[in-house]
Point group: C2
Chain length 348, copies 2
């Protein structure tokens, strides 16, 4: 026994820090307890979950401080929620339903335990919202905050929609509006007067960046009406569409006038130097769904999304033979659409 | 089109760097392709996998540079392998079989693409060895290397072994030998003459640290003979046993003379200031299995592990009523066994 130990422990607690076991015990209270499909949640080497008779969908996304978020701009709660939503969106893009999540978290020793608990609280709230269970994880010290979430979902056999199924002459559609998340980040960084931040359009942009939503029901609806290919718009419409086309061995022609630019970006452009169409094409983090459909079913898909979710579906162009993306201007002129977007390693 | 782009791209390639899509394409060739249970592997928003009629086992582990490894001491290939093995070991500790893995990787911009490919090569080799499929992941820039692997496994319904099942008067057993991984790390850091590093005992310690193995068959065998509780020894025998006991609401008495100290540690102790028993009790990263068994089945478990895997099983003590761990010395004296081990956030 080291007589200094109790004092050290008190000092750690005063600073809001805990030992790993103390922190794990606190976090465990926030994780989902026993529930549908959860045979054993946190507290063991691994979680034990029921697996259905369908197909499992497995996806992981990592959020890194200084790359995906800044601790000075986002709340821990919003960050936790977004880490879950980014993964749920990937499951939605397959036409599946999210079921279970695990999280690996690294953070510097000077991060307060309360911040970590808020992060877990945000993850738990998002899991509750999307009906999945947060069943475990791992903790480590690190030089920066890194949140890595893995989600397992389910989809009925034969019902998953891949990126690789698009064919020439199909229509390219996208849910919701684009560019709002990137606009929200630009707004948060722009240090505008606080009066601006209280406006409806500013709230819309900030919510898109810090409190995004995943399109789970919308993905299933698009799968039901016959989406031939689907993915989520996480890195930007242009680069994500180029990836879908590459997987399908096709090209695409995009009508720029039909790209659903978030209306709030026009308000932002009045007070800050942003390009609304540019953000809609390359901004990233919108978590909308990009899909291809036979032209006969576009109207059915549009009306179902509108009725069920109040979410618009924009028909933005056409799949073509060959490779590459072409942007068609309002005046009919064509130019190559550069697959720009979020690239962690390329030059910007 | 920016005329500087082709030049920048060439400069990146010369430095061994790629854009995210280029790196993803290269990594994809190393990932497991279609195989048993893999409906769709990498290249989509998520992997699609068959799920059986049993229970799914979901676990995640994160390895952080400067905390779990030093790039100057480990090869990328060994690091990749160890990231998989740490997760496979958690599945083994439930009595399950690993099936699928996904990885989230963050790394600084100055890391060479070849290093990343070696890391993936090591993960792929370990997945091949343990018969699981590496089906996808995510990449990000970051200030340090962070490898977060999630493994999904399977176990027959009702056959999983938890940490919470131990009862008083059961025996405490552990596979293999302990302390070798911590000894290997001490050896790698000690800058001993290279003649020492070529010896069999040094190789054994270095392999334990840098090329650990997971006890998958051994875990299933222990489950079959009736293990009542089980976990892997990843943070150190003392702290891991204290966790098993806490989950089970029991205590334990450990006979120090029966703790299977890795023999190579005695050789190391002759040339470096290490405490073999201390490393065996608190060193961590051994990935051996710690289990509790009715005393009637210990001999059966021991002979099966010896016959099937050539792996020894040590009977190191007894589960007791109440709380806490007691260490019994060779002379019969008793003292509290402090639950020391790997704690990322506590004082050391």
């Amino acid at each position: 026994m080291n007589p200094a130990e109790p004092g050290e422990r008190d000092a750690r607690a005063e600073r809001g820090r805990f030992s790993e076991d103390e922190l794990l015990a606190a976090i465990r209270k926030v994780l989902s307890g026993p529930g549908p499909g959860v045979v054993a949640g946190p507290g063991d080497d691994a979680a034990l979950v029921e697996v259905g008779s369908g197909h499992g969908v497995l996806t992981t996304d990592v959020l890194v401080e200084g790359v995906h978020f800044e601790r000075s701009l986002t709340s821990a709660r919003d960050l936790g929620s977004k880490a879950i939503v980014a993964n749920v969106s990937d499951v939605a893009a397959m036409g599946g339903s999210p079921r279970y999540a695990v999280v690996s978290l690294a953070f510097p020793r000077d991060v307060e335990a309360a911040w970590v608990m808020e992060l877990y609280g945000g993850m738990r709230a998002a899991c509750d919202e999307y009906a999945l269970s947060l069943v475990g994880g791992d903790l480590s010290a690190g030089a920066e905050v890194v949140v890595s979430v893995t989600v397992m979902g389910e989809v009925a056999r034969g019902k998953a929609v891949f990126r690789s199924g698009a064919s020439a002459s199909e229509r390219v559609v996208v849910t919701g509006v684009l560019g709002a998340a990137a606009g929200g980040l630009a707004l948060a960084r722009a240090r505008l007067p606080s009066g601006v931040l209280g406006s409806d359009w500013a709230r819309e942009l900030l919510d898109a960046q810090f409190r995004p939503v995943a399109r789970v029901g919308e993905g299933q609806t698009l799968a039901q009406v016959g989406a031939t290919a689907m993915m989520d718009v996480s890195d930007g419409l242009a680069i994500d569409l180029s990836r879908l086309c590459a997987e399908s061995g096709v090209g695409a022609r995009v009508d720029l006038a039909r790209v659903p630019v978030a209306p709030a970006l026009r308000e932002l452009a009045a007070v800050a130097p942003v390009d609304p169409l540019g953000l809609a094409l390359s901004g990233g983090e919108d978590y909308e769904l990009l899909a291809t459909l036979d032209h006969h079913v576009v109207e059915r898909a549009r009306s179902r999304l509108e009725e069920r979710f109040g979410v618009p579906l924009a028909d933005i162009g056409e799949i073509t033979e060959g490779e590459g993306l072409v942007a068609v201007g309002a005046d009919g002129t064509e130019r190559p659409l550069e697959p720009k977007g979020w690239d962690h390693f390329g030059s910007r």
